[in-house]
């Protein structure tokens, strides 16, 4: 983990020192990464989000009395999906998809000698290869989290309004905005950015650690994805521990 932090710091420093003419290269790579990690993952993320949104509503509606359901469903969706499940499920999708791709690509480049070839003409690989991928993945994960939460709410509330005469979509939306605070949004987005940074940083670090053999590519890719998933769980636990009011649990 420490080597990943060192890599992230070194990449940011290298990118900050780039001349203005070079920033176009970094921007193009960042944009391509956002396209691959974010835009191309939207269908999968929306499918998972809609399914989860409906399932939460189905399970909670089956167990709740009619009175006060709308308020409770809104708060449940905000807490469960907006703050907790949404960001980490998006992180899992991105780690398996883009994290694996980054680790495989960088380890292939390393074993083929492309990274050293770039260094051999005076180009810092961290600035050109690592930094834009980290920024791209972090932005994509945060954006996908917003997409996930929106899709889950729309699907969940839509299902609830369609299945219960006492509930309306507009009414559920109102309870949602009442249940959601700026703090909730900040936690969700902040966690997503942390997830994205950790995923890209860990997978890039594993990819660059590959030695000169083709068997290193699958080995490093697997290590990268497993480590990234583990890191996301650790981040989730730490952020939850820092943001949850544990006093309320014992009241």
């Amino acid at each position: 983990m420490l080597s990943t932090v060192a890599l992230l710091v070194a990449s940011a420093r290298s990118a900050a020192l780039l001349p203005a003419a070079a920033r176009g290269v970094v921007r193009r790579t960042t944009f391509r990464q956002i396209l691959f990690t974010g835009v191309e993952a939207i269908p999968l993320v929306v499918l998972i989000a809609a399914t989860l949104g409906v399932l939460v509503i189905v399970q909670s509606a089956a167990s709740l009395p009619d009175i006060g359901q709308a308020e409770f469903m809104g708060r449940l969706l905000v807490l469960l999906i907006g703050k907790e499940l949404g960001p980490i499920l998006v992180a899992f999708v991105v780690a398996s998809r883009s994290g694996a791709a980054i680790a495989a690509e960088l380890s292939t480049m390393k074993t083929r000698g492309e990274i050293d070839g770039l260094a051999g003409v005076g180009v810092d690989p961290l600035a050109v290869i690592v930094f834009p991928r980290v920024v791209g993945v972090a932005v994509a994960v945060a954006s996908l989290t917003v997409v996930f939460i929106t899709a889950a709410f729309v699907a969940g509330f839509g299902f609830a309004a369609a299945s219960r005469a006492s509930l309306t979509f507009a009414g559920l939306l109102t309870t949602l905005f009442r249940a959601m605070s700026l703090g909730d949004i900040a936690v969700a987005v902040g966690k997503s950015l942390l997830f994205g940074t950790a995923i890209a940083g860990l997978c890039a670090e594993r990819g660059l650690a590959a030695k000169a053999s083709s068997t290193e590519v699958p080995r490093m890719t697997l290590q990268a994805v497993v480590t990234a998933l583990f890191a996301c769980v650790v981040i989730e636990i730490v952020v939850t521990a820092l943001t949850v009011d544990f006093g309320a649990l014992t009241r």
Partner: protein, 207 residues
Amino acid sequence: MTLLRLEAASFMEAGAASLAPVSLEVSSGEIVVVEAPEIVAGAVLAHGCLGFLPPQSGQVWLFGERLAGRADAQLSHLRRRAALSTSSLPLLANQTVRDNIGIPLLMRGLPAAGTRSLVSALLERFGIEHCGLKRPHEITQREHELALAARALAVPADLVVLDNPRLPPAARGLLQDKIDAGSAVLAIVTHAALIPEAVRKIPVELA
């Protein structure tokens, strides 16, 4: 001024070759030719000169700094003053030939418009203008070698290391331009008979 100095430095790269100790010095404004016994040996020596391979014995000094025991991050400021062309370290597979040659120039602050015209002129000089928008897997090995050489000779480096250079006649003047500007060129070849007598040659042997 001595830009590169090897003092009884031997190198071994697993799966490649093992070189006997070699001593050489490359100073500003000169071309030094090393005659390697085989192509793979030349690549191993090229890697060692820029610190991609630590010496098994002896020492390597690049721009007056000893390379032994240094990580890549600590060598980047030295490599920024050098340029290496060797088929063992290929072009980036996910970039076009044009971008592969242009990225090192952009990284050194050359404006995009200037980079574009310089790269176009280089591609023409090396006879690979038709490869500009192709990716490395879409060109021949010979075209790949020429693109690597073009990339190394494009950057404003104090020391250019060319492994097995087979430059077209139109591009050979670039070597003289480098010398005239005070840079140095280390060319690693396997057929020294092709090099004029006046050029200093150093033989390298396998261990």
